[in-house]
């Protein structure tokens, strides 16, 4: 409840930090840890090797075992620290392991082979970023093509959706005409039906329209999201009709009123919807999976899925790819969120 106070103290002028301010910052700090910590961990994990990812308990940072070159051995040996017995505290390279016994050799005495139980030594590790997880991606497949497909789908679907939805929202909020309630009910009705449950009929329709294995098969059905119409309409209702009437007096066409007056005034809502639309299309998986089955049409999300086999998953590459897929959308968000801020500020101050 302290946070509610905080909100109210904002009008209390400038001064000493009130305890509610402390509470707010504590809340926000907690928010960072909970909201951002897991994502950070994901990013760090994407630099772990496949074996490291399988290890219990998971570490926060990526580690790899230190290797040591010892005279008389061709290959570098894994480095261990001896924890018990005569050589406790010393470091040694492990030559081989037989059953429960480890054979170690110290760098200072390369001829002297020590035998000791496994429990008496522990591996020496260092932080090691497995950049090859990322490198593999570009070797393994045509990353740039998938990126292009994803960008194309996202951009087109977002633009079409924003235009079409804002037009509809404009009609539904600023005109009184017969059938408005029916259309509204229909739109809200479809809002209820998640795409997952109409996958099969949607597939049949897309097939009939010849849009399978075409990027448009993902773009066009995706643009028909009712959520956008609903959100925008709710926002446009708050725009006073007087502004429109004034414009009509000046002989502005309805289209001009729509895109010169109503659209700019709805900027914050449109920015929110744009972020949502971009995010939906960018992260969309199930529908592209059904429409696109040829590699050259794949989106990043589909390529990501190809790391998952029937029985095994290549986590290291999958995580690296996940992070790469995340980067563009994070950038877009960073850009758009400023726009929301100014949009909200300008409408809030009117």
């Amino acid at each position: 409840m302290g946070k509610i106070f905080t909100f109210l103290t904002r009008t209390r002028g400038i001064g000493r930090l009130h305890w509610t301010d402390w509470a707010s910052y504590a809340y926000l700090l907690f928010g960072i840890v909970i909201m951002f910590g897991p994502v950070l961990w994901l990013v760090l994990s994407s630099f772990k090797s496949e074996a490291e990812l399988q290890r219990f308990p998971p570490t926060f940072l990526p580690y790899a075992q230190e290797m040591i070159s010892i005279e008389g051995y061709d290959k570098p040996l894994p480095l261990f620290e001896i924890t018990n017995g005569e050589f406790a505290g010393k470091q040694a390279g492990q030559v081989r392991r037989i059953g429960l016994v480890s054979q170690l050799v110290r760098p200072e005495a390369p001829k002297d082979l020590i035998k000791m139980p496994l429990a008496d030594r522990k591996p020496v590790e260092r932080i090691d970023f497995a950049f090859e997880n990322y490198g593999d991606l570009f070797k393994r497949f045509d990353f740039l093509r998938y990126l292009w497909n994803s960008v194309f789908i996202t951009t087109m679907a977002t633009l079409i959706m924003l235009l079409v939805n804002s037009m509809a929202a404009f009609a539904l909020s600023k005109y009184h005409f017969r059938g408005r309630s029916t259309v509204l009910a229909m739109i809200v009705g479809t809002l209820m039906v998640p795409q997952t449950v109409v996958l099969v009929p949607l597939f049949l329709i897309t097939r009939e329209l010849g849009m399978l294995n075409s990027l448009w098969g993902v773009i066009i059905p995706g643009a028909a999201t009712p959520t956008g119409v609903f959100l925008l309409r709710q926002y446009m209702l708050t725009i006073p009709d007087e502004i429109l009437d004034a414009a009509r007096m000046d002989k502005a066409s309805e289209w001009k009123i729509f895109w010169r007056i109503v659209l700019p005034l709805s900027a914050p809502a449109i920015a929110v919807l744009a972020i949502l639309a971009i995010m939906w299309r960018w992260n969309d998986f199930l529908w592209p999976l059904i429409v696109l089955s040829q590699n050259d049409k794949f989106t990043l999300q589909l390529a990501l899925n190809s790391f998952q086999g029937q029985l095994t998953t290549q986590w290291s590459n999958l995580l690296a790819m996940t992070v790469l897929v995340l980067v563009p959308i994070a950038i877009v968000f960073a850009f758009l969120q400023k726009y929301i801020a100014t949009g909200i500020a300008s409408t809030g101050g009117k």
């Binding site: 399988q54 081989r96 075409s214 999976l289 590699n295 095994t312």
Partner: protein, 425 residues
């Protein structure tokens, strides 16, 4: 409207139209491939070799996730928009779309070498068609952490040891070494079918109708549920997840938290890479029951589809891979167990495989002979996937206590009947 705007608009429209038109498809053989290891890449190399000798053929590989093969491919095939060729695992379910290779290949060669697995895509004993080839055979069975056995001073049970003996031994090892889990089994109806069949489950009645649940089947499931409850089995694996989702216990095994891991031959490479030198592990195959010591066979098949426009090219391509030398090369490179009986008899040279891997694969090759005929016919049955899913779903419900084991078995029986009714026998 000024000129600059007009130019921009024109450019935008033109690029959109160009993109739309650019998606015309060439007359290629499209091959949809999903695999756990390097199977797709190895096939691609073999195809490339074939293309060089047969310039008319061009294969385009679409590497997809397994989810696409499982959920998307059937819908595509039903809609007539599938690829020409694919690597599939659901033989029975998709059989009606498979291309019969008989007119293009030496049927005799195929029947001698792929007899056991060819049956999986046939509709019945009268069906003599050749519907594609198993590129590998997978076998279910167990791995053990041998180091833990040594540490505990418990003798590793012999080849004829029963499930109960293995459970007892694993419990002793776990207790002595402080390891949390004696045993674990992948969450899969396919995995648990082997032990059930070994226990005497018939899966089909005398007339060949699927029944799934009979007394020996229910008996083993009951035992399995109890093992989960008393901690013999790692409960996380089956009870930690819902629906029909697959879940393995490889991570527990890799981290030496598990003594006995019932999974299958496909894990060899992964275990080798992840365990490295941490401990010794070994393939022990399937423990015995009163009826058999059987695991389940499985694997992926390279199949063509009837919908293809180039049936001959597809058939010849598959036939090329089926030739003994090519097949052996494929198996050697992908570290699999051969389904080609000729290759299996001669033994495969796993080039550059580590000693551990070679030994493990040899262990799996030796398991082939122990597979029960019921296991083969269950795996090849049209609705086998349905029945695996039902098993997983219902047994899990019994493990987590949503219903008793008797209720679960009763439900499973009803589920099978309902499924057969809507999907046909």
């Amino acid at each position: 409207m000024d000129k600059r705007n007009l130019k921009w608009t024109g450019a935008a429209l033109a690029s959109v139209i160009a993109l739309w038109a650019g998606s015309a498809a060439a007359d290629d053989i499209r091959f949809m491939c999903a695999a756990d290891g390097n199977e797709c890449a190895t096939l691609e190399a073999l195809f490339a070799r074939y293309e060089k000798d047969n310039p008319g053929t061009h294969v385009v590989i679409d590497v997809v996730g397994y989810k696409a093969i499982l959920e998307n491919l059937p819908v595509q095939l039903a809609g007539g928009t599938g690829p020409d060729m694919a690597l599939v695992t659901d033989f029975g379910g998709l059989a009606k779309y498979f291309l019969d290779l008989t007119p293009y290949v030496d049927a005799n060669y195929w029947n001698t070498n792929f007899g056991n697995t060819l049956r999986w895509s046939r509709t019945g004993p009268d069906d003599k068609g050749i519907y594609g080839m198993n590129i590998q055979l997978t076998i279910t069975g167990a791995y053990i952490n041998k180091t833990l056995f040594e540490q505990a001073g418990v003798a590793v049970p012999g080849e004829k040891a029963t499930w109960d003996e293995w459970a007892e031994a694993s419990r002793q090892v776990a207790k002595a070494t402080g390891v949390p889990f004696p045993m674990a089994m992948d969450r899969s109806g396919h995995r648990i079918a082997g032990p059930a069949i070994s226990n005497g489950a018939k899966i089909f009645d005398d007339a060949g109708n699927p029944i799934l649940v009979d007394a020996p089947f229910a008996d083993f499931m009951g035992k399995f549920v109890n093992w989960n409850k008393d901690g013999t089995m790692a409960k996380d694996v089956w009870a930690g997840i819902g629906g029909t989702s697959y879940q393995d216990a490889a991570q527990e095994f890799i981290n030496a938290q598990l003594v006995f891991y019932y999974s299958g031959s496909w894990q060899v490479q992964r275990l080798d890479k992840a365990i490295g030198d941490s401990f010794d592990w070994e393939v022990v195959g399937s423990p015995c029951g009163p009826a058999a010591c059987s695991g389940m066979p499985g694997g992926s098949g390279l199949v063509g589809f009837k919908q293809t426009k180039n049936p001959e090219a597809v058939a010849k391509l598959i036939n090329y891979i089926a030739q003994k030398d090519n097949y052996a090369e494929f198996i050697g490179k992908t570290r699999n167990v051969p389904a080609h009986e000729g290759v299996a008899k001669e033994g495969v040279a796993y080039t550059d495989a580590s000693q551990n891997v070679a030994k493990a694969l040899k262990g799996w090759n030796a398991q082939i002979a122990k597979l029960s005929p019921i296991a083969y016919s269950y795996q090849g049955y049209k609705n086998s996937r349905t029945m695996y899913n039902i098993t997983v779903q219902r047994v899990t419900q019994a493990i987590v206590g949503e219903m008793s084991i008797d209720e679960a078995m009763e439900k499973a029986k009803q589920d099978v009947e309902a499924a057969i009714q809507s999907a046909g026998k």
